[in-house]
Structures are given as structure tokens and as C-alpha cells.
């Protein structure tokens, strides 16, 4: 009988425990010694990570369902309570959040002097928000945890209050995300008015076979908040503003898991709630069009940046575009590839952000031009460590085997080819090469001092990005910083080597996409999985390794071309035809919140137009 399901009863604790700890910090944290606050916060993150691991092991065999307050619906299958549901993918995201949190906290040990215990409390609230969002099985509960994530994230972004651009980035982030959340709430209200239900499993049943335009509109509005979080063009403008200014350890969480949770929200709502409605006819089109636009635009913007964190932010957006494009083929194999891609991306992108944080700590800048050759000034093993972590992470981002990002990309490419999208692999390779090349270009300039020392260093708004950190007067980089960054690279590499991880990811994706299984588990307590059908991919194969190596080679070529451009004959400089749209593109990313809201409105209209049945 499911009422004796201990795992289900304990599942909500993953959300409750961090909030409880954060509440204690808010109440008495100012009176506690800093070490205790740091250690306690770390311990809570480890506990959540441990609980997540246990839940992940259990979800390998069956789903975990929790009806809070025992408001499990009776025989009719409609109830008044809130359900949480964990399958491998959802609990995997929660575990990813906890892991990145542990690493970010390790990196930022004594990082902030001024904010006292507030930083730690906010981090715990942020963790609780992300976990709750991943587990929520109710659209209004999704909204609540979305906002919890948001409130903590806005404060964390603006934490360096003495830096005006940090405050402004936080305002843009807060306003754009809130506007989107309210549109989502209108969407939730429409769904509620239409069905009288909020639970995803119930919606799955009652919306099935509904082919009206109304359902499309409700879905578009409901998804707006998630699309903004996922930084899909044209909803993406807040992201680079926020990532450029947020404290580096926070960026690890933003890029590695928060943005991906937006995409997860869209998928969860569509795959469970709206899978059998008129949305299904157009969702692939939406993912393809928006994803392609996102990937191309962000890859170009990525190449144009010299502010390292902003460059990494655009690389994240470009990756989101690739995720969307790959998911547009809509089968479990592509979702499995993307799931691995997300994990691998989180690891290497986190390592890159931490490297940026170390450079900022050493040289007070994250500007590629100012930092030209600076990496060589890092002496001894520390310098070797930072330079090689940066290089490995950059290559891993481009898709170097055996990094998990490369494996995920390779699986997604295979899935796209098999689904008849022959343009898929070239597209993924080009975008990966461009963004990976941009990061490698920074490595060449910063760590090697390649090319000519760039001119025009004093451009405004590029450097002087001052972070409130414990000022380490010593010569050495604190070990914890290098260890945190190195750990992420090792994780990113090791994940790609786990035996049969591709097969396991495919099974997990299959289960995530199984709406009937979800409904049976949540509403009727049948939590077991049906047996897996069909063949599953085996992981790295020769084809995938070759394509990945091709991607890395292309990325190296892009980087070398960018660094050595001054040696080329004048005819190879970009012609005016290219430079004009590039200038326009830069002007569009204006940093003004009014513009961003206008783009958001346009995005809603465009998404609805693409999705509406012809």
C-alpha cells in the first residue's frame, strides 16, 4: 500500500531542511561565529545532496510520490492537495543543484565579509527553491517555488551593492523575471478556469484530447516564466546582465542549473499536462525556431564579448539554444543526450566561472584585454593548476571526449540524425565550435599571452568589476578555490566515463516522458515503472568521438583565427555588411529594462503565433 511509502513521506524534507536552516540563520545567524555559519550551511547542502542521492537510487526502481497532509485523492482521482513527484530526471536536477551548491560554498568559504550570514541564508533559500521547483507536481506550487528561486537569486545577484552595475543587473533580472512570472500566473488561472484543477496529473487527464486554440494560449502564457528563466531568445536579455555582475560562485548555480530548470519547467508542464492537446502539434516547431534563434544569436554575441563572465553567460544561452533544438525531435534518446549535456555543461561551465573568479581575485578584472598574458604571472603549481583547469574546461565545453558534455552532444546528434534531421550534427558542431572557440580565445590571450597585446583596453564598463571578497594578501591562491574548480572538471570528465551512463540516461528520459506512468503513480499510487522497450544507445562510439574531435578542432581554429587575426591580410577583416548587423545586435542588448519588457511581449506573441494550429 502506498501509504507506507517512507521515501514518499520523507521527500518534502529535501525542501524543508534548507529552509529550516536558513530560518535559523536569519534569526540568530548574526550572533554566530562566521566559521559555524559556513560549516553549518555546507553541512545542510551535504545533507540535501545525500538525501537527493538516496532518492536518486530509489527512483532507479520506482517513482517517489508525496501527497502533503495526506490529501491523496480518492477513487475519483481529483483532490485538493499538493503532490510532489520524483523521477530520475527531476531528482537528478535537485541533486545537481545541491552538488553545485556544495562546490560554490566551498569556493566562497569566507568569500564575503560584509553580508554576514545573509549570503548563506540566501543560498539555502535558493537551494530550497530549486529543489521544490524540480519536484513540484502542481502548477501553482511550481509558481511558488519559481518565485522562491527568484527572490533569492535577485538578492544574490545584487549582493555587491557598491557596484552599480551589480545592482542594475539585479533590477533587470528581477523585473523581467517577475513580469514573466505574472504572465505565467495568468496562464495558471486560465488553466484553472478551464479545468478546475492545478495538479499536473489531473490536468494530464482532463486536458487530453482538447484541441482548442485556448489551450495553446494558456500553455504559452504558462510557459512564459519558464522560457524567461531558460533565457530563450527573445526572453534572454536579463541573463548576461545578471551573470556578468553576480558573485562568481552564484554564477555557477545560475548557469549550471537555474537556467536549465526553466527548460525543465516547460518540458514538465508540456510532457505531463499538455502532451495530448493541440500544443503537441506545434511544440516541436517552437523548440526548433526559438532554439535555433537562441543558439545563433548567442553564439555571435559570445564571440563579441571581452568581459569573461559575460562571454560565459552568452555561451550558456547558446547551449540553451542547442538543448532546445535537440529536444525538438522529441524522442527519449535526444532528451537523454540533453540530460547528460546539461550535467556536463554544468560541470565545465562552473569550472570556467570559478577560474574567472580566481582571475578576478588575483588581478581585479575579468576583462580579456586587461588580463592579456596575466595567466603567466601566476607562479608555481597554482598557476599550472589554474591554466590547465581553464584549458580542460574550455575544451570540455567544446565537446572533447570523454567529457560528459561531449557525450551528451554526441548522443543528441545521433538522435537527431536518426529522427531524420540530418542538419542537426553540423548545426550543433558549428555552435559548439563558436562558443568553445570564444572561450579558448580567452585562454590563449590570458594564459599564454598569444597574439598581439590588444589595444583600447580602457573601454568603459569592462573592468573594475570589484567583488567583496576576503582580501588575500598572500602570494598564493587559496587552495579551496583551485580544488573547487578542479573538482568540477574531474566530475565533468568522470561523468562521461561512467559505464553505460548513456543507456541509463535513456531509460530515465523514457520514464520522464511517460505521462501515463506519471498519472498512475501520482493519482493511483502505482509507482512502479513499466519495463523498458527497445534498444538503448551504448555511449561513446567511433562516430561520436570523431565528430567530437572535429568540433574541438574547429573550436581551436576559431580561437586561433581570432587571436591571430591581425596577421591576416586586410581583406580578411569582416566587411561592413557583417559589421553593421553586429553593431545593431550590440545596440539591441541595451541594458534597459524597458526594452527587455518590450521584447518579452513580442516573444509571447511570436511563440503563440508559432504554436497556434495552422
Amino acid at each position: 500500500m502506498p501509504s507506507a511509502d517512507t521515501a514518499g513521506q520523507l521527500l518534502p524534507l529535501l525542501v524543508i531542511i534548507p529552509v529550516l536552516a536558513a530560518a535559523v540563520l536569519v534569526g540568530v545567524g548574526q550572533r554566530l561565529p562566521g566559521r559555524l555559519v559556513g560549516a553549518g550551511t555546507m553541512m545542510v547542502a551535504v545533507v540535501v545532496g545525500g538525501g537527493g542521492t538516496a532518492a536518486l537510487i530509489i527512483t532507479g526502481r520506482r517513482r517517489i510520490v508525496s501527497w502533503l497532509g495526506d490529501w491523496r485523492p480518492g477513487g475519483s482521482g481529483t483532490g485538493v492537495g499538493i503532490a510532489l513527484q520524483a523521477d530520475q530526471l527531476s531528482i537528478g536536477l535537485a541533486l545537481l543543484a545541491a552538488t553545485l551548491m556544495i562546490i560554490a560554498l566551498g569556493f566562497s568559504w569566507h568569500y564575503f565579509r560584509a553580508p554576514g550570514s545573509h549570503f548563506h541564508a540566501l543560498m539555502l533559500f535558493f537551494l530550497a527553491g530549486m529543489t521544490g521547483f524540480a519536484l513540484a507536481g502542481d502548477i501553482f506550487t511550481m509558481f511558488v517555488f519559481f518565485e522562491m528561486m527568484g527572490v533569492a537569486a535577485y538578492a544574490l545577484t545584487g549582493l555587491k551593492v557598491e557596484d552599480p552595475s551589480a545592482v542594475q543587473g539585479a533590477i533587470n533580472f528581477g523585473i523581467v523575471n517577475s513580469v514573466a512570472a505574472y504572465l505565467s500566473l495568468i496562464g495558471i488561472g486560465m488553466v484553472y478556469a478551464h479545468t478546475g484543477e492545478l495538479n499536473l496529473a489531473e490536468l494530464s487527464r482532463s486536458l487530453a484530447g482538447d484541441h482548442s486554440t485556448f489551450v495553446v494560449i494558456a500553455f504559452v502564457l504558462l510557459s512564459t516564466g519558464f522560457l524567461v528563466k531558460a533565457a530563450v531568445v527573445p526572453f534572454h536579455f536579463w541573463l548576461d546582465d545578471a551573470h556578468a555582475v553576480a558573485p562568481t560562485p552564484v554564477c555557477v548555480l545560475f548557469s549550471g542549473v537555474m537556467v536549465e530548470l526553466g527548460l525543465y519547467g516547460v518540458l514538465r508542464v508540456y510532457r505531463i499536462g499538455f502532451a495530448a492537446t493541440s500544443v503537441a502539434a506545434g511544440i516541436d516547431r517552437v523548440l526548433l525556431v526559438l532554439g535555433a534563434a537562441t543558439a545563433v544569436l548567442a553564439a555571435v554575441m559570445c564571440l563579441l564579448q571581452r568581459h569573461l563572465k559575460r562571454l560565459l553567460a552568452y555561451s550558456t544561452i547558446a547551449h540553451m539554444g542547442m538543448f532546445l533544438v535537440a529536444l525538438s525531435v522529441g524522442d527519449p534518446e535526444s532528451l537523454a543526450g540533453i540530460a547528460l549535456f546539461v550535467l556536463g555543461h554544468a560541470a565545465v561551465k562552473g569550472a570556467l566561472f570559478l577560474c574567472a573568479g580566481i582571475l578576478l581575485d588575483r588581478f581585479g578584472s575579468v576583462d580579456e584585454f586587461t588580463l592579456w598574458g596575466a595567466g603567466q604571472r601566476l607562479r608555481g603549481w597554482d598557476g599550472v593548476g589554474v591554466r590547465s583547469i581553464f584549458l580542460l574546461a574550455a575544451l570540455g565545453l567544446a565537446g572533447l571526449p570523454p567529457f560528459a558534455a561531449g557525450l551528451g552532444k554526441s548522443l543528441a546528434e545521433t538522435a537527431m540524425t536518426e529522427a531524420g534531421a540530418a542538419w542537426g550534427p553540423p548545426f550543433m558542431i558549428i555552435i559548439s565550435a563558436l562558443t568553445g572557440g570564444a572561450v579558448l580565445r580567452v585562454w590563449l590571450r590570458v594564459a599564454v599571452g598569444a597574439g598581439r597585446k590588444p589595444e583600447g583596453i580602457e573601454a568603459e564598463g569592462m573592468s573594475g568589476d570589484e567583488e567583496l571578497m576576503e582580501v588575500d594578501v598572500g602570494e598564493d591562491i587559496p587552495n579551496r578555490m583551485i580544488i573547487s574548480a578542479g573538482a568540477l572538471v574531474v566530475i565533468g570528465c568522470a561523468l562521461g566515463l561512467v559505464p553505460s551512463i548513456a543507456a541509463r540516461a535513456t531509460v530515465a528520459a523514457d520514464r520522464f516522458l511517460d505521462a501515463d506512468g506519471y498519472v498512475a503513480a501520482v493519482l493511483h499510487g502505482r509507482i512502479g515503472y513499466p519495463p523498458v522497450a527497445g534498444p538503448v544507445p551504448s555511449g561513446w562510439d567511433l562516430h561520436g568521438v570523431l565528430l567530437s574531435c572535429l568540433t574541438v578542432a574547429a573550436a581551436c581554429a576559431v580561437a586561433a583565427l581570432a587571436v591571430l587575426r591581425h596577421r591576416l591580410p586586410g581583406g580578411l577583416r569582416p566587411p561592413e555588411v557583417v559589421r553593421r548587423p553586429v553593431r545593431l545586435l550590440r545596440r539591441v542588448h541595451s541594458g534597459r529594462v524597458g526594452d527587455y519588457v518590450v521584447w518579452l511581449l513580442i516573444g509571447v506573441g511570436v511563440t503563440a503565433a508559432i504554436l497556434a494550429p495552422a
Partner: protein
């Protein structure tokens, strides 16, 4: 006429949301923009409450005059609105705190004059 009345409250809610959005888009003052955000959110309250209304329904507080069978309006949307209000208050306070800081650092709250993020 009946058709118009059947959708009028929803239209009002949508108009409030859009007005709030327009306010943010054309705002020359971040405090104004944050207030417009609250206006936008007020539209969601109106919408939720309109969704839960029933002609002849009264407040869902049961007692000596309101019995089990008495038609009441939907308590669920009222509870959702309450949650929504708290969220709004929290976000508004957070954004206003950020606006205070930007006013101190930059001496202006006109988003068009704050160009530091261009790049």
C-alpha cells in the same frame, strides 16, 4: 450584451496587466517601474478572483447563516491570490531596496541614463 458581460471582468484583468507592462516599458524612473510591476500583478489578482466568482455566491466563511449547501465563491482562487499578494510584497520590497542602492551609487533612477550595462 450577455456575451460582453461574460468576459468583461477578464478583459479588465488583462488590461491592467498590459497597462502595467506598458508602464514598465516606457518608464523613466525605476520606482515608477517597480510600481508598474505591482500594477501588473494586481491584474493577476483581478483575474484569479474573477475566475472564482459565481453569481449569487457569497464569501466562503461558513457559520450560522452560511450552510453547506449555500452557494459560495471559490475559496481556492482567494487562497492563491493571498499567496500571490505576499509574493508581490516580497518582490516589491526587494526591488525597491535595489532601486535605493542604485540611486545612491548613480544619483539617478532613470533606466535610460544608466548605461553601465551596455557593452
Amino acid at each position: 450584451m450577455i456575451g460582453f458581460l461574460a468576459y468583461y471582468p477578464y478583459a479588465v484583468a488583462g488590461a491592467i496587466v498590459l497597462l502595467g507592462l506598458v508602464g514598465i516599458a516606457i518608464s523613466r524612473d525605476l520606482v515608477h517601474a517597480v510600481v508598474c510591476l505591482s500594477v501588473c500583478q494586481s491584474g493577476t489578482y483581478v483575474f484569479l478572483l474573477a475566475v472564482g466568482y459565481q453569481y449569487g455566491g457569497i464569501a466562503p466563511i461558513f457559520g450560522s447563516t452560511v450552510h453547506r449547501g449555500t452557494p459560495v465563491v471559490d475559496p481556492v482562487v482567494q487562497a492563491l491570490s493571498l499567496t500571490d499578494i505576499v509574493v508581490s510584497a516580497a518582490i516589491t520590497s526587494m526591488l525597491l531596496a535595489l532601486v535605493i542602492q542604485i540611486a545612491k551609487r548613480r544619483g539617478t533612477v532613470d533606466p535610460d541614463e544608466l548605461r553601465s550595462l551596455e557593452g
